[in-house]
């Protein structure tokens, strides 16, 4: 079963995945790569949870680049329905065609001598109207139709309603969708499905059972350095160590919003622009708003700033 033909040649081993992701700028861990490897070989979606800004969405995007397949992204929100997620009929186009057909009706019905014959002819048109020509595919259907495979990202699934979650189950377990007027559409090459959640609400058991589960936490200093290095190559190794140390000490503090990886990267860029070669208290104070987004957090950190800076510089 695992040996069937797919479009994802490079997913042969866990190490290959780590290397492949690194080549497109995503620093993976063994755990993350294992999850991808299993998802591919067991044909299972992955549900990724973790704090905001640890690269959950980025992982999906990087997988798309690494495999060189399109990424179909579905952003979930409250009130998202199948019309936005799966497919919609092109009402306008159907209406237009009906108008055109009206004028030709005489010609079309020309051969029909009996009521039954006319009815048959009409029925054949009805099928035409509810065919794929008039189908507007939304991200889920698009992902099923890709012939070369794709990455399907269902982002922030916790923001959608419970009904929508139930609706996803068919896609997640069988890689198929049912359009009542047409029938069941089976994915030609099952997409690699990645769902992310920020834990706004607890997800249903049914959904969790169908997915592999990956929890991505904030990275350890070593991995975070590698990530910043990949994004901001010009940063000196001393400064890199110090700034990552500093961010890590912030994450240990009791603050409202802990700085995410992207904020570390932004901060590294900021420090680079200011020609910093190492951290000093004043520079940290002026740039603190890059890392912290709440006034109360900035004030809390400000009090400890001297100590934090000193420790970060010393603890390389």
């Amino acid at each position: 079963m695992t040996e069937t033909k797919t479009g994802y040649a490079p997913l042969t081993s866990i190490d290959a995945i780590t290397a492949g992701l690194a080549s497109v700028g995503y620093i993976s861990t063994r755990e993350i790569s294992t999850a991808i490897y299993l998802a591919h070989n067991l044909r299972k979606p992955i549900l990724i949870e973790g704090p905001a800004g640890v690269g959950k969405t980025d992982l999906a995007a990087s997988m798309g680049r690494f495999l060189n397949v399109p990424l179909n992204r579905l952003q979930c929100y409250e009130g998202l329905d199948e019309g936005k997620a799966l497919y919609e009929w092109k009402y306008g186009k159907q209406l237009l065609y009906t108008q055109l057909l009206k004028e030709k009706l005489g010609e079309v019905m020309d051969g029909a001598t009996s009521l039954a014959a006319a009815f048959d002819k009409l029925t054949s048109f009805e099928d035409l109207f509810f065919s794929e020509t008039f189908l507007e595919p939304r991200p889920l259907l698009t992902a099923m139709q890709q012939t070369q495979g794709s990455v399907l990202l269902i982002d922030e699934i916790d923001k959608s309603d419970e009904e929508f979650e139930a609706y996803l189950l068919e896609i997640l377990s069988d890689y198929q969708v049912t359009v009542p007027e047409i029938g069941t559409i089976q994915a030609q090459v099952p997409p690699l499905v990645i769902l992310t959640s920020n834990n706004i609400r607890e997800l249903g058991d049914a959904l969790k059972r169908r997915c592999l589960h990956l929890y991505i936490d904030f990275p350890d200093p070593k991995r975070e350095r590698a990530i910043v290095q990949a994004r901001v190559p010009d940063v000196s190794s001393d400064l890199l160590k110090q700034l990552v140390n500093f961010v890590h000490s912030l994450r240990d503090m009791d603050i409202r919003k802990r700085p995410s990886i992207s904020e570390t990267v932004d901060w590294a860029r900021t420090l680079l622009l200011m020609h910093a070669s190492e951290l000093d208290e004043d520079m940290v104070r002026t740039t603190l708003n890059v890392l912290l987004k709440h006034e109360s957090d900035i004030q809390a950190v400000d009090k400890e700033l001297r100590k934090l800076t000193r420790d970060s510089v010393a603890g390389q």
Binding site: E31, L42, K44, Y91, L95, E162, N199, C211, H213, Y215
Partner: protein
């Protein structure tokens, strides 16, 4: 054999409260076939990914994985590799405990123990008191009786030589029993610790809060978190109610403007569901304080479902305590509250008028007002008028009383005078009672 390793591991997970479905077991077996047993770190990553589906479950998984695979894996791989040439070898080991001990071959001993464990069905172990029993059972399956007969024979010979041999046998027996005990102990930690913990928590949740010991506190904390999680799962699912009776004309016209105003798609008026809001007013004097501690712990653990919580504590005067509770470590905050606010003589009337003077607008039509107190106001004016006014402003009012109904109205208890204005007057004795009340409160917002 390899699949048995996985199913036993899943059994251990289930005993520790991790729900594993049949489908997930099959996935785990497939995943393991793919990854193999050789690289333990990879195996841990794999099973964690397939079987544990929340950060808490992952932590439990890691703990059990270390416990379980520290021995199961060795025996699994060895017995698989030994299966072909040496079936006889394992038979002889069970024959002769003495030679087994004397050989000092750890691998052989481990295999013998694992085999005995399997025969004793050690995965059924549930309580720490069963460790000796299972160790005994394992000894039996390793040939304890034969050893005993041999020992008796040696004694009966009544020679120095015989006695020496008997001594050796006794030594071997003791050594083996110790090993079997350790093995059973480890098995208990793998399969049974979760069940025991569940049992203890169940017991605590039924115990009167006022009779809890200080040493129960840590376990109570995990219990409260568990209850809160259960409530959160049950109530965090927001259902948008559709009101199919009423057409939303404005939205329908706008939506269908593209189709020449032909209404292809109808939109209905939706009823918005209120977000729960809880205002807790707690008497923190004397004996009520211990109940307040767990009540507040429970509602603050519900933060995901009830983002809007206002809490007040009083004995003589009333103060808002939301900030203290949110900013400090919970138990430190509680100690401070009880120390600062709970020391004066209880005055319900004064406290209610404080509530009216300073915090009146926290109570609105989506508020559930919960008062926790025994209603013993030292014969002062209970200000029932303010309470009734507060009750009429709120969506619902619930009074939680730690005293039993038979006590209501005795002495200085004003409960009967407040009772007509509260939607419910409930006697709370255990954590379960608190959970039930909060469950009903949250359900009323659906």
């Amino acid at each position: 054999m390899a699949d048995k390793v996985i199913t036993d591991f899943i059994r251990a997970l289930r005993s520790a409260d991790i729900r594993v479905s049949t489908g997930e077991s099959i996935d785990a077996a497939r995943a393991v076939r793919l990854i193999g047993y050789a690289d333990r770190a990879k195996l841990a990553d794999t099973l964690r990914c397939v079987l544990a589906k929340s950060p808490e479950e992952k932590a439990t998984h890691d703990r059990l994985f270390d416990l379980y695979f520290s021995r199961a894996l060795d025996t699994a791989s060895k017995s698989v590799s030994n299966a072909a040439p040496g079936d006889t070898e394992t038979d002889t080991t069970s024959d002769d405990m003495l030679s087994l001990i004397e050989s000092g071959d750890e691998a052989k001993i481990t295999i013998a123990l694992a085999k005995a464990g399997q025969e004793a069905e050690i995965q059924d172990i549930e309580f720490s008191t069963q460790v000796s029993f299972f160790a005994q059972k394992m000894m039996k399956s390793m040939g304890l009786e034969r050893l005993d007969t041999k020992m008796m024979d040696a004694f009966r010979r009544l020679t120095d030589e015989g006695e020496g041999e008997a001594e050796k046998l006794i030594e071997a027996r003791r050594e083996m029993f110790m090993r079997a005990r350790n093995y059973a102990q480890q098995a208990f930690e793998t399969y049974g610790a979760g069940a025991t913990e569940t049992f203890r928590q169940e017991f605590l949740s039924e115990k009167a809060i006022t009779q809890l010991d200080r040493r129960d506190l840590e376990r109570m904390r995990t219990l409260v978190e568990k209850l809160a999680r259960r409530l959160a799962v049950k109530h965090s699912r927001r259902r948008s109610k559709k009101n199919r009776g009423q057409l939303d004309l404005r939205k329908t016209l706008r939506k269908n403007a593209g189709f020449d105003g032909v209404p292809f798609e109808l939109l209905w008026k939706n009823n918005k569901r209120d977000r729960p809001k809880i205002v807790a007013v707690c008497d923190v004097s004397g004996s009520v304080a211990s109940v307040v501690r767990f009540f507040l712990m429970l509602i603050y653990s519900l933060n995901d479902v009830v983002p809007d919580i206002e809490s007040f504590a009083f004995s003589g005067r009333l103060e808002s305590v939301g900030d203290i509770l949110e900013q400090q470590d919970f138990s430190a905050a509680m100690d401070e509250i009880i120390f600062r606010i709970g020391m004066s003589s209880t005055d319900y009337g004064q406290s209610f008028s404080d509530l009216k003077m300073d915090h009146w607008n926290v109570i609105d039509r989506r508020t559930t007002l919960i008062v926790l107190g025994d209603g013993r106001s030292n014969y002062g004016d209970p200000r029932v008028d303010i309470f009734s006014e507060a009750a009429s402003r709120a969506k619902q009012t619930i009074w939680l009383c730690p005293e039993a109904e038979s006590q209501w109205g005795s002495g200085d208890s004003e409960i009967p005078r407040y009772r007509p204005y509260a939607n419910r007057m409930v006697h709370v004795r255990t954590i379960k009672d608190l959970e039930r009340v909060l469950d009903e409160v949250l359900a009323s917002y659906n």
